[in-house]
């Protein structure tokens, strides 16, 4: 009987190997494994064998069955493989996916870039006291930014120490807040919504800024340049150049404007840039008065700060011309990013 079983197995495997299609595999299965198949018939004859042989024969039959089943399965897989004549140019079926907003994507990218050099992300208040937004930053009482047609103010009683309540016009208010929260070394990235009372093709009343603040011993202009260059190369591409130019802000001394060279003309000057460069940020070394207002000893520590518009850098990279488009809720726009 042993030989009979072995023959059966070899025969089955031979047939499986020669089979040409899925239906023929099914037939082979019925022929050998099916209820009335060859193995089944042999099984019924086990009773005719001597009792001491029965167990061994049973195991052998089961093993044979397993081998045949495995061979069948493997052969089936081969038939189910893509055929060589598949039309590889067939278009894929379309899958609709969701979309994170361009602003979110930009914020996340900025956060990741700065996290790599040790910046901690914060989100300070959108509704803020005058002290943090202006006074502590050295804005004089008649500074134009405080004009009622520049900055939104809130109908609310004036705080005896902190002044009026307003919608923060910049993320710089986070500087003194951060100094109050933590002692140096400070590497802060404050990203938040900001507001200015303007609405036209280059201004929306609500927009987003990010503010970098670094305070430690021995921080100098070359660190500011290094940080801005690291960011610009990470965000816009390693081939892009940055430069800083003199500017004036109440809360930094010296102050700078930060430019990135134009992708299109590489600094030569063209219709989309200003003489080969794009202004992307304001920056500077933190003013000693601001350090003092944040309780930091300006004799021991120095720092730099910079502020950039999320929308501005997002638009530059996406080559999106009209700021108002960024806040469109039209799905045909939202699905592009």
């Amino acid at each position: 009987m042993d030989r009979e079983i072995t023959n059966l197995r070899n025969q089955a495997i031979a047939e499986i190997n020669e089979s040409k299609s899925l239906p023929s595999i099914a037939q082979i299965r019925i022929k050998y494994i099916g209820k009335k198949g060859s193995l089944g018939l042999i099984t019924k004859r086990i009773w005719a064998a001597p009792e001491r042989e029965r167990k061994r024969l049973g195991i052998l039959i089961n093993e044979t069955k397993a081998v045949i089943l495995t061979a069948l399965a493997e052969r089936r897989v081969e038939f189910e493989k893509p055929q060589n004549d598949t039309d590889l140019t067939l278009p894929g079926t379309k899958h609709e996916v969701g979309h994170k907003h361009l602003i979110t994507q930009t914020i996340e990218e900025v956060e990741n870039i700065f996290r790599q050099i040790g910046f901690v992300r914060r989100r300070y208040f959108e509704v803020e006291w005058d002290w943090y937004a202006f006074e502590a930053l050295g804005f004089g009482p008649d500074h134009p930014a405080r004009d009622e047609w520049e900055t939104y103010t809130i109908k609310q009683n004036v705080h005896p120490k902190l002044g009026g309540m307003l919608l923060t016009p910049h993320t710089s208010g986070g500087q003194v807040r951060e100094m109050e929260r933590a002692r140096p070394p400070i590497r802060m990235l404050n990203i938040s919504k900001t507001y200015r009372r303007q609405s036209d093709s280059t201004h929306t009343p609500m927009f987003h800024q990010f503010e970098g603040l670094v305070i430690d011993k021995g921080i100098n202009i070359s660190h500011l340049r290094g940080t801005l260059e690291y960011f610009a190369k990470s965000f816009f591409g390693h081939e892009r150049e940055t430069r800083i130019r003199p500017y004036n802000f109440p809360f930094t001394e010296p102050s700078f404007e930060v430019d990135v060279n134009c992708k299109r003309c590489r600094g030569k000057g063209c219709s989309v840039c200003k003489g080969g460069w794009h202004e992307v940020a304001g920056a500077g070394m933190v003013h000693p008065v601001v350090l003092a207002n944040g309780g930091v000893d300006a004799k021991v520590y120095s720092g730099f700060a910079f502020g950039m518009g999320i929308e501005r850098i997002a638009m530059m990279r996406a080559e999106l011309g009209d700021l108002r488009q960024i806040y469109s809720v039209d799905l045909r726009y939202l699905r592009q990013f």
């Binding site: 969701g98 103010t153 809130i154 919608l167 919504k193 940080t227 500017y247 070394m285 039209d330």
Partner: protein
């Protein structure tokens, strides 16, 4: 503010072979930003942005001075041209008008009478230069005052002396006083503007901002009063903004013009009146300058400059740079004493200001970019709010959610709303306390689409007494074309209570929950052993006569003991098919054990929920 000036004019004050392109490029790198350089016939025009602290550069002289300091660092020779300084001749007449100053309002007054103008025609070259600077030519004497202002950086004015009356009294305006400008427009003055009056109450000038119609110099005027006043910048700004009179003089005066520049302006003016208009000085020179401000000397260490720049800069270079900018420099060992020129006295006050001057002229491009080393800050771990928001977005986007950003300023309000004092319009008067209206509006803008899910993560603002409002981060969203099961299915990935917060707005399904309530999403997951024994699975269908509470039925089934999992599979008319997974952690359930559980479920669904086994 911006100043436009002709290259030919600049060259009268700047000795250099630099091309206009080089001047524009290098000024931008180390000084004021040249926003454009345009060819106009044989000349060039620079359009230059001057920052508010540098009103000294709102002049040809000021720009020339900067260029003379900057260009040599780029290897181009340059120097500031000397102005021949001839003090004006004294006239015979004693100043015929009595000038009564108020030193709180005006820090310095220089005035002289000029008589017998012979020529009123402005020469072509002056008309052109003024035009290139954006100033319209009027009569020669008036053009000269504008020319002198642009050249020296101090605004000047000329009156018809005979129209001024006997006195010129400096005083504050009273609210509602009427002033008629030389443009013929009537202005109702605010309280506290600086005005001149003739002693009888008649206002004869709005100094520093706009001349008056009643004192304007015309071709039939015999005697003129050339007048230079250094006004209080704060008052000028307030008045000029309130009346919306933004003359070049006002935008300069509100930034604090150096009173010492008045002398240069006076000399240039008198010289030009004589040379071009034939006007002669006919009175003594009045100079009322009660309290010249002392200029502060700043002392600092050589090392301080090096530390801030991140490189070593030789003393000799520091000297060269500061001297070119007309600062006075003296060293004592490593200590440096610097006195700025008068026209820089108000913006150079602390050692950091000296660093700026040295660093920018040395060239920011020559300071190598370098990342800082040092210890990293402590990381605040308490919240993880950004990770949470990121995680919520990931989940919703995977399920085809589309994120929007809508405005936080809205037209709707409730009892917690903050109101703006100065809104742009009625539709943006309040800070929102819910994202509902904004998202409904967003959905309405996409009616061409059949099925979508918009969501937003943004703050709402809830008023608190005497404190800043609570800025509460919300997750809100709106489904269009989704049925309730689909919408809940999406939200269930964030937590059951998000799914349960759905409400109906118009044809939409809307939800809004505080992000802070979803913190569980970030909880590290714990491993649950995979059951060793297979569950028994079966579908049971119930019919309900009245409206079923299918959700409650399902949770009741799911919470039955030894039921591992349950789901609602199909709904067909009033028949609801539930799939039930019977599962014992330690063994395979026998048929009779399953039978017992099943009976329990059927009893509850028929008894408590009015179902009937189908």
């Amino acid at each position: 503010m911006n100043i436009k000036l002709a290259d030919s004019w600049l060259r009268e004050h700047l000795n250099s072979k630099a091309s206009p392109q080089e001047i524009a490029k290098y000024l931008s790198l180390s000084g004021p930003s040249v926003e454009s350089l345009k060819r106009v016939r044989v000349d060039w025009v620079y359009d230059i942005e001057v920052t508010t602290n540098r009103v000294d550069m709102v002049s040809v002289r000021g720009i020339a001075r900067e260029a003379a300091a900057i260009l040599p660092r780029f290897g181009i020779e340059a120097s500031l041209a000397k102005i021949p300084f001839t003090p004006p001749q004294r006239g015979n007449m004693k100043m015929p008008i009595e000038i009564k100053n108020d030193r709180r309002l005006i820090g310095r007054i220089m005035a002289v009478a000029i008589s017998n103008f012979e020529n009123w025609e402005t020469p072509e070259w002056m008309v052109k230069r003024l035009r290139l600077s954006g100033v319209r030519s009027l009569t020669l004497p008036v053009d000269i005052t504008n020319y002198v202002m642009l050249e020296t950086g101090h605004p000047t004015h000329i009156f018809d002396l005979d129209k001024l009356g006997k006195k010129l009294v400096v005083r504050e305006s009273k609210k509602g006083e009427v002033f008629v400008g030389l443009d013929g427009r009537k202005y109702s003055l605010p309280q506290g503007a600086i005005v001149f009056e003739d002693g009888t109450g008649r206002i004869t000038d709005l100094p520093g901002i706009l001349g008056a119609k009643n004192s304007v110099l015309t071709k039939d005027s015999k005697n003129a009063l050339f007048f230079i006043e250094n006004t209080d910048p704060v008052r000028i700004r307030r008045t000029s903004m309130k009346l919306a009179i933004r003359t070049l003089a006002a935008t300069m005066n509100e930034k604090g013009v150096d009173p010492r520049l008045a002398e240069l302006a006076m000399i240039r003016g008198v010289e030009m009146f004589a040379k071009l208009a034939g006007g002669t000085v006919s009175s003594n020179m009045v100079d009322i300058y009660p309290a010249p401000k002392a200029i502060k000397t700043i002392t600092l260490e050589h090392g301080f400059i090096n530390e801030r720049m991140g490189l070593k800069i030789p003393k000799l270079e520091i000297n060269k740079i500061l001297t070119a900018l007309e600062f006075t420099v003296s060293w004592r060992g490593q200590k440096l004493s610097v006195t700025p020129p008068s026209f820089r006295a108000q913006d150079v006050e602390i050692p950091e200001d000296i660093v700026e001057e040295v660093a920018r002229i040395w060239g920011y491009q020559n300071i190598p970019p370098k990342l800082m080393g040092g210890a990293l800050p402590e990381i605040p771990h308490e919240k993880g709010e950004f990770a949470l928001e990121g995680s919520i977005r990931e989940k919703l986007v995977l399920l085809r959610g589309v994120e929007v950003y809508t405005q936080s300023l809205v037209g709707e309000k409730d009892s917690k709303s903050l109101e703006l004092k100065n809104p742009l319009g009625a539709d943006s008067k309040y800070l929102r306390t819910t994202l509902g209206p904004s998202l409904t509006a967003a959905a309405n803008e996409n009616l061409r689409e059949k099925k979508f899910h918009l969501f937003e993560i943004a703050n709402v603002y809830l008023r608190r007494r005497g404190r800043l409002p609570e800025e509460k981060m919300m997750l809100a969203g709106i489904f269009a074309g989704y049925n309730i099961r689909e919408a809940k299915g999406v939200l269930a990935t964030l937590g059951k209570h998000v799914a349960e917060s759905i409400e109906q707005i118009d044809n939409y399904l809307f939800y809004e929950v505080p992000v802070g309530e979803l913190k569980d999403i970030l909880k590290p997951k714990l491993y649950a052993p995979i059951p060793k024994y297979p569950p028994q699975v079966e579908d049971i269908t119930f019919k309900f006569a009245s409206r079923p509470r299918a959700g409650e039925v399902l949770s009741s089934i799911a919470n039955t003991k030894l039921v591992g999992e349950a789901e609602l599979r199909y709904i067909y008319k009033k028949a609801y098919t539930f799939r039930i997974y019977y599962q014992h952690p330690d063994k395979t359930l026998t048929n009779s054990e399953v039978e017992k559980i099943r009976t329990g479920i059927i009893n509850v669904v028929t008894g408590d929920f009015g179902g009937e086994l189908a």
